[in-house]
């Protein structure tokens, strides 16, 4: 779901201004699980788990949402998960404009609708 969203043309164009996207497959890549364990530590996990790093490899923010006791938002679908994902982007953007961020938000809120569970 996340890969499909990030591949949408408008999203990919906006994201490319600030983020290199790298996926580590914990099952198929050697050392994939080791890296996941190293970076996630003992925080709540599950897959997908996301982190935004600087060029030195230092974590700037992760998909563990402090507003939800550190729960992992995973692939953001519910409104509160989308809010945290957008926070991750807003806190780490350097070049994206407001228009870029608005485009990403609009695309995500629309894209996520079929995946949302009722009553949340």
């Amino acid at each position: 779901m996340l890969e499909e969203f990030l591949g949408r043309p408008k999203v990919a164009a906006a994201m490319a201004k600030d983020w290199v996207i790298c996926t580590v497959d914990v099952d198929r890549m050697t050392h994939g699980k080791v890296i996941n364990d190293r970076l996630k530590g003992d925080r709540e996990g599950g897959l997908p788990w996301l982190a935004i790093l600087d060029a030195a490899g230092k974590e700037l923010i992760s998909s563990n949402d402090p507003k939800k006791k550190g729960a992992n938002i995973g692939a953001p679908a519910q409104p509160d998960e989308i809010d945290h994902f957008l926070l991750m982007l807003n806190q780490t953007k350097q070049h994206c404009t407001e228009a870029d961020m608005t485009a990403i938000e609009q695309e995500l809120r629309e894209f996520a609708k079929p995946y949302q569970r009722p009553g949340r």
Partner: protein, 180 residues
């Protein structure tokens, strides 16, 4: 959150769900063979996988049997993890063109393995695929496993991404995921 990793039970559910979704899509509209191939090649390139081009006539007993075998738990797991599957109906013009390109007899079921550039690495057809009306599932899976990609090293993938981040003055959105 959409996915949590809780072990093989969920993997089974995910596989079943994936197969149901694929069946629903297939019933909705038969895929264009050329488009199916292009999509599979693009995904294979992105995910370090091979393409399995399945030249099957669904109305044919052997084709239906092979398709059913591919939905078996272990076979489906192998396909999910190591292959992007392109279903090619060899009777359609585009399917026949692809059959000719890869040296497949359009009247005979065949599984062709390609690398992510579209180069043919191997093919399984004839009695190697179906003998006396039975799909040779174990032998086919063994043959397919020999043609899978070498796994990427996650440490190298991460290191290369960080080099790109530094060069481009960007940040790294790192996602951890699994095929299921």
């Amino acid at each position: 959150m959409i996915n949590h990793r809780v072990g093989s039970l969920l993997t089974g559910f995910a596989l079943a769900g994936l197969l149901r979704a694929q069946e629903a899509k297939a019933e909705a509209k038969p895929p264009d063979p050329a488009q199916a191939m292009a999509t599979a090649l693009a995904k294979a390139q992105k995910h370090n996988k091979r393409v399995l081009a399945a030249f099957l006539i669904k109305e044919d007993a052997a084709g239906a049997a092979i398709e059913a075998a591919m939905k078996g738990k272990e076979f489906a797991h192998l396909l999910l993890y190591e292959f992007e599957t392109a279903s090619i109906g060899p009777l359609a013009k585009a399917g026949a063109d692809l059959a000719a390109k890869y040296g497949v007899d359009p009247g005979t079921p065949a599984l062709v393995v390609l690398d992510d550039k579209g180069k043919k690495l191997g093919a399984i057809d004839g009695e190697a695929l179906v003998k006396d009306g039975e799909v040779r599932t174990e032998a086919v899976m063994t043959a397919l496993k020999k043609l899978t990609c070498a796994p990427l090293d996650g440490e190298q993938v991460l290191a290369a991404a960080l080099v790109e981040v530094k060069k481009a003055d960007k940040r790294l959105l790192l996602t951890f995921d699994a095929p299921w």
